[in-house]
């Protein structure tokens, strides 16, 4: 009889598992849905915008992070309502229309234990990332992002030495440079770097979070990474955030309404609040 009891118990447990799964699944409601795919740099901002929009309208907005290239390709193939790109559309990417929604700065961060370095020059960064030269005898290691990352693209494109040679032109970076594959991991690595001898770079939208994780920002070429400085172009490490949709199919009514919301004053307020710069 005991065995019978056990079998009943196992069956009951299975039933409970299936039941709870079914119950949870039923939570999803059948309201209108927008699918947005693309750049992982734009994703956090898009999620905030989506959250605000969802509050006012009965829609579900799914933001799937991948990368700019995929976001644009999905738009070309009609797989999303619109795509996100943390760069401008290339000339060979045809059939899509881009709308610039914000500008993002690439902020340099170190652990706050480093009090010596407050400003670095492009030349110093180039020397560290290209040749492993210590910056101001205090920052001796650097973290970069993986190949193909929009943030890495912007960084490699904008950091150059006196002769105008870009990091992008190099065959390989210095041996002291390590790679992490997301903003979060760069931040964690800098947070864990308790003596502050490592520098890294993240999207400006994540700076507020980074500051709570023992990180501090470093000026670039004497300019502080603030919204104002990005806006007036004096802070050079910056790039555009675009949304991209299929030109032929256009935006659906719902998508158009959401885009209008992004470009409205309310949307702009959110963009600013999240640490990005309005167009």
């Amino acid at each position: 009889m005991k065995k019978l009891g056990k079998i009943v118990a196992v069956t009951a447990a299975c039933a409970a598992l299936v039941g709870s799964v079914a119950a949870f699944s039923a939570c999803g409601d059948g309201s209108d849905k927008l699918t947005i795919t693309g750049s992982s740099s734009v994703t956090p901002l898009m999620k905030e915008l989506a959250a605000a929009y969802e509050k006012e309208h009965d829609v579900t907005i799914e933001v799937q992070q991948s990368d700019s290239g995929t976001g644009i390709k999905d738009a070309q193939n009609g797989l999303n309502d619109f795509g996100m790109a943390s760069r401008d559309v290339k000339s060979e990417e045809t059939g899509v229309t881009a709308i610039k929604i914000a500008i993002d700065g690439v902020a340099l961060i170190t652990n706050k234990a480093n009090t010596a370095v407050t400003n670095v020059t492009s030349q110093e960064l180039y020397d560290l990332y290209a040749n492993g030269t210590t910056i101001q005898s205090s920052i001796s290691a650097g973290i970069t992002r993986e190949d193909g990352s929009g943030t890495r693209d912007a960084f490699d494109d904008l950091v150059k030495n006196a002769e105008g040679k870009k990091l992008k032109d190099l065959e390989k970076l210095a041996s002291i440079i390590t790679t992490q594959d997301s903003t979060g991991k760069v931040m964690s690595a800098i947070q864990a770097d308790s003596d502050g001898t490592t520098i890294g770079y993240i999207s400006m939208g994540s700076v507020a979070e980074a500051l709570t994780k023992d990180c501090k920002t470093v000026n670039f070429e004497g300019v502080e990474p603030t919204a104002a400085n990005v806006s007036n172009k004096s802070y050079a490490l910056q790039r555009n955030f675009n949304i991209v949709y299929n030109t032929e199919a256009g935006l659906s009514e719902l998508a158009q309404d959401f885009v209008d919301f992004i470009l409205s004053e309310e949307g702009k307020a959110i963009i600013e609040e999240e640490g990005y710069i309005n167009v």
Binding site: F24, A52, T178, T179
Partner: protein, 644 residues
């Protein structure tokens, strides 16, 4: 004459009677079991073929040897624009594997010796739990621990600018290898006949001498097999490694603190931003990884065959006869060496426990403050992320994977244990392929799922994730069920058959219910594997953090949630909290396994489970009229009773 004969025979073979004879219930069921057993073979071939089919294009465009021996990696938009030299990663994979197997393997062997011979009886159960827990911690948790604790710690100790690299990788990977290697090595140590040990003691050896000079050499082959399995695990490890080795794709691991990359770390890091061409190259890297594993499996096979062929316990003694005199002379001296080894095994075993406690405590301290009811079960929106979707997604993945893998696995195990002759070629091949399937790294499963399911379906889905997970847990289920089937005494089968029950009836009513504990254990082990898996799921189920509506939606399990939290950089605290949830689940599953095993042991002297069902059934039927069907049931019951 002969021709006519042949014709007749063919006609005969396809005549009605012989067809009817061939397609009896028994034979059909046997056929189904055989097909189930063949699934592992199909799966291995499927993985190899699909991976090769996709990687052929980059191999052709760039050149296989240019990829394998090129030493600059710079991903581009197309094959022509990028440079795809993987030699530094291949070297990185090999060096990291060798280092961590040397360190982790040595520790694991000492731990195994400790567990088999020195651990006090009372502590044995607890120590076993510790090792199981180490095995159950998801690799992504190890990686996070490495990133936040090991790397900064090394940096402070050695005063170097950057501590990412070989040393950090070796430390973390060694800890991860210990449970795998130790538990297999321990099994082979415990399989050494106890009269070896007793004989050695009787000849005047101290306990330490008996253990290290007699028992350990006797289990040599098993220990080597354990180390090779450890190599397989190290080669395929992805999520932990990529956080701590620095991932500098263009550098060789020339020093303890030089950042470098492995095949796995490169695949997982570059995947999300890769263009289609680069993606194909990455799949090619996956294929190279698969080749590594297949070669390794062949080596394992050779080692195992040697074990079968020779007398595994006496080869050493024959060899040693010539220098017996020397041995005798140095015997007293070696005694002190064994004493030192004994101390080492104690110390290392304690260090392993300390490492585990450290990892668990670190995660608990960082994570518990952020756990709330709302974080666990609240409605997840863009504004407010909770891990409620992870409960659903993980549940859906577990249900689907088990629905597929359990019938397949149990069927295969039944075929291997009940139908096939011992040592038949088919059984050997199935075993070989099951072992191969078990050794394939999860990232390769992920790539396979991506090519086989995600591309044709044009979306990441829980369906794809579940199917791939089913393949991954299949070997575990086959092995575990087969083991418990083989423990069912033959007398039960014989009694059942003698009483007129067919083979199918015997299997379903007598053998399988007796192996219930083993099947439940297999289910729990599979759930553990599914819960801690991340690499394979990122490539198949995607990483959407939303409540899935159905199996065609993308969804994230707990481990993938952790990965995604880490990625966005906005949810580091949530990442710790999720890891606490994962740890709790792993601990619960471990306790469940122990519980089921205990119950199974306790029930060994009890009436057959089918009797319990019958008793219930009879009392139910007794309320009405006794039906005819229960008579036949009774037959088997009696058989079972007889067997008891």
């Amino acid at each position: 004459m002969q021709k006519a004969n042949l014709k007749e025979r063919i006609a005969n073979a396809f005549s009605r009677e012989s067809l009817e004879k061939a397609f009896t219930k028994e034979n059909i069921v046997k056929g189904i079991f055989a097909v189930f057993a063949a699934v592992s073979i199909i799966a291995v071939f499927g993985i190899v073929i699909f991976l090769l089919a996709t990687s052929i294009e980059p191999f052709r465009e760039i050149g296989f040897f240019k990829i394998l021996f090129g030493d600059i990696w710079k991903a581009g938009d197309t094959y022509a624009e990028g440079q795809y030299g993987a030699l530094p990663m291949v070297v990185g994979t090999i060096v990291l594997t060798v280092c961590s197997v040397l360190v982790g393997g040595t520790i694991a062997i000492f731990v195994a010796i400790f567990m088999a011979y020195y651990c006090p009886k009372k502590l044995k159960g607890i120590y076993n739990q510790v090792i199981n827990l180490l095995a159950g911690i998801p690799s992504i948790v190890y990686g996070f621990f490495g990133l936040m604790v090991v790397v900064p710690g090394l940096k402070a100790i050695f005063n170097v600018p950057s501590a990412y690299g070989l040393l950090a990788g070796t430390i973390v990977l060694s800890i991860m290898l210990i449970p795998t290697v130790a538990s297999i090595a321990r099994n082979s140590l415990e399989a050494v006949p106890s009269n070896y040990y007793e004989g050695a003691l009787a000849l005047g050896c101290s306990k330490n001498q008996a253990v290290f000079k007699v028992c350990v050499p006797a289990a040599k082959k098993g220990i080597i097999a354990a180390l090779i399995l450890g190599v397989g695990r190290a080669v395929g490890e992805t999520m932990a490694v990529q956080m701590i080795i620095g991932n500098s794709v263009n550098y060789y691991p020339t020093g303890a603190f030089q950042g470098f990359a492995t095949l796995t770390s490169t695949i997982v890091q570059q995947w999300s931003y890769a263009t289609p061409d680069t993606r194909n190259v990455l799949i090619g890297l996956g294929f190279i990884l698969l080749l590594f594993i297949l070669i390794l499996n062949c080596v394992l096979l050779i080692v195992k065959r040697d074990t079968m062929a020779g007398n595994k316990y006496f080869t050493r003694r024959v060899k040693g006869e010539a220098d017996n005199v020397k041995n005798t002379l140095s015997y007293k001296k070696t005694g002190s060496i064994q004493d030192i080894l004994w101390i080492i095994s104690y110390v290392l075993s304690i260090i392993v426990v300390v490492a585990l406690v450290g990892i668990v405590l670190f995660m608990l301290i960082k994570g518990i403050p952020f756990i709330s009811f709302d974080f666990l079960f609240g409605r997840s929106t863009n504004a407010h992320v909770t891990i409620a979707p992870a409960f659903v997604s993980t549940g859906m993945l577990i249900v689907l994977a088990l629905l597929i893998a359990l019938p397949l696995g149990v069927g295969a195990a039944v075929f291997l244990n009940e139908y096939s002759k011992k040592n038949s070629i088919f059984v050997k091949i199935v075993r070989l392929f099951t072992d191969t399937l078990a050794g394939i790294p999860s990232i390769v499963f992920g790539l396979f799922g991506y090519i086989f399911l995600v591309i044709p379906m044009k979306q990441y889905s829980l369906l794809a994730g579940g199917i791939v997970l089913a393949l991954m847990v299949l070997p575990t289920i086959i092995r575990s069920v087969e083991q418990s089937l083989s423990e069912v005494p033959d007398s039960m089968r014989e009694a059942s058959l003698a009483l007129g029950a067919g083979k199918v009836r015997t299997i379903f009513l007598v053998v399988l219910p007796s192996a219930l504990a083993g099947i439940v254990t297999a289910i729990i082990l599979s759930i553990g594997r599914i819960v801690s898996e991340s690499a394979a799921l990122i490539f198949t189920a995607g990483s959407a953090m939303y409540m899935p509506d159905n199996y065609l939606d993308s969804g994230s399990s707990f481990a993938v949630f952790m990965w995604a939290f880490m990625g966005e950089g906005l949810y580091i605290d949530e990442c710790y909290a999720t890891s606490v949830v994962l740890l709790v689940i792993v601990i619960i599953l471990n306790l469940l396994v122990t519980l089921v095993e205990r119950l199974g042991d306790r029930d060994k002297g009890k009436p057959h489970p089918i009797l319990a069902i019958k008793n219930g059934y009879n009392s139910f039927v007794g309320l009405f009229k006794k039906k005819k069907t229960s008579e036949s049931l009774e037959n088997t019951d009696n058989a079972a009773e007889l067997a008891e």
